[in-house]
Symmetry: C2
Subunit: 256 residues, 2 copies
DNA sequence: CGATATTTGTCCGTATGTATA
DNA sequence: GTATACATACGGACAAATATC
């Protein structure tokens, strides 16, 4: 039973100086990250169990858990109870511009993807939504919860609000076509633009983390934006959570 | 010695059903978050020690540590060895547009802030930098490491590259004025625009976390961008790390 | 300045619960 | 149902950084 930590502990025990003074857990995390980087463990693959890693590295299982939690936070792996700890895949580049479209962005990246309506409901506008969409509070809105996929994995989830009755039936078209743009087109909005986007980084709620199939300790990018029709009338207010380290958003400031 | 967990454990012990089945650590984290939200613990204030909290809540210190780690990740508190665990302050809104300026953004938010040069050095352009700045590889560049402050705390750190010899002496002007815009102006660039920005969310390196005075388990927004002079010539390539939950970036897509 | 107490950080060991294969 | 694997929680010990006297 080889002790992979021997190369780590040896210097600290031989000489009291120990140039490598990092903690066990961080050194093990680094070694695992290197192994992933070198393809020893490939995306989608399962790592050895915590118990096995603890034996391999000659440390307690809790120390391994600390290392794995760190890698989970950094997005390299993700643990699921009862299944194991799996290596994550890599990032996708998405455009964030006044005229960017989800499907188009993915196509440019050589990927296929679409939108899936998880939930649709009619709601009454609250103050924020009313302000953003320039309607009176309590106006009827269509509320959609949408999952955006690409490269075979969830890239973002969003909550979107559309004024009613203008966009009655939009949910069904989005569900059928997998595209907001297509749904807008079918309802007479041939073009639209994003007004502004507000961006911050957060740790996701448990629910959002679950939808994105990621740990709730991995960051997400939160983007709030408003879309306008060609007449400048707001047609959509959305809050989207992007898997922070699976996605890079590119803002083009000089778009037409 | 009151056991603050009594209200938590009671239902689980009274009836086996226990509608609140969340873990101790998450419920304690929620209670602490609520206390912070209600101003029981104010920004900058120190929380009771882990030992004290463990006694208060009637749980093991490790359970408290789990709760605090969660709040640390979410940015509500930050722990420092030997000092304690402190409540963090709140977010600042920054503009991210083709013509946004750090100082101006802060002024709009009613805050004062400036840039501080942490490190300046002449370097040779690598492939990425050369491509972004449209110079030949190994061309001389001025490299600046800059800390951006606002509201009395670090908001972002950045690594910036400027072509030489055009911007010789820029570091000293930035240091003296606390402003990149002022330095550009003094060197004959009266105006400039951002070409594009690439945004992702990451967990910071230990170094970046230290500069931002934040935990390395709290997310940062990474923004890479290129600035152009009025003739469209690249004058700056930068990578900036924003304290993810102290900062909201707003992208204006319809700026002039 | 040094000595000491406090506080967080790391690590081990053990036990039990819960989700999945 | 059984076995496996991760999740939670307890207990103890010492190290490292900081505050305090």
């Amino acid at each position: 039973m080889t002790n992979l930590l021997s190369s780590l502990t040896a210097p600290a025990e031989d000489a009291e100086q120990a140039s490598e003074r990092a903690s066990f857990w961080s050194r093990i995390a680094q070694q695992l990250a290197d192994a992933i980087g070198q393809g020893v463990y490939r995306p989608g693959e399962r790592l050895p169990s915590e118990h096995a890693l603890a034996e391999q590295f000659g440390v307690n299982r809790h120390t391994i858990r600390r290392s794995l939690a760190h890698l989970d936070q950094r997005g390299l792996v993700h643990a699921t109870q009862g299944r194991g700890t799996f290596v994550e895949a890599f990032a996708v580049d998405l455009a964030l511009g006044k005229r960017s479209r989800h499907r188009q962005s993915l196509a440019q990246a050589g990927l296929r993807g679409g939108l899936q309506v998880m939930h649709a409901q009619e709601v009454a506008a609250n103050a924020d939504q009313a302000l953003a969409l320039q309607v009176t509070p309590d106006s009827p809105l269509l509320f959609l919860q949408v999952l955006g996929e690409g490269a075979g994995q969830p890239l973002h989830v969003s909550e979107r609000y559309f004024p009613l009755p203008r966009f009655t039936g939009l949910a069904e078209i989005v569900q059928a076509s997998g595209s907001i743009t297509a749904a807008f087109a079918q309802l007479g909005v041939a073009d639209y633009q994003r007004q502004e986007s507000r961006i911050s980084a957060r740790l996701p709620s448990k629910e959002v983390a679950r939808w994105l199939s990621q740990s709730s300790t991995r960051p997400v990018i939160l983007v709030s934006s408003v879309n306008l029709d060609p007449q400048g009338v707001p047609i959509e207010f959305s809050m989207a959570w992007f898997a922070g380290d699976r996605v890079t958003l590119t803002v083009k400031h000089d778009e037409p």
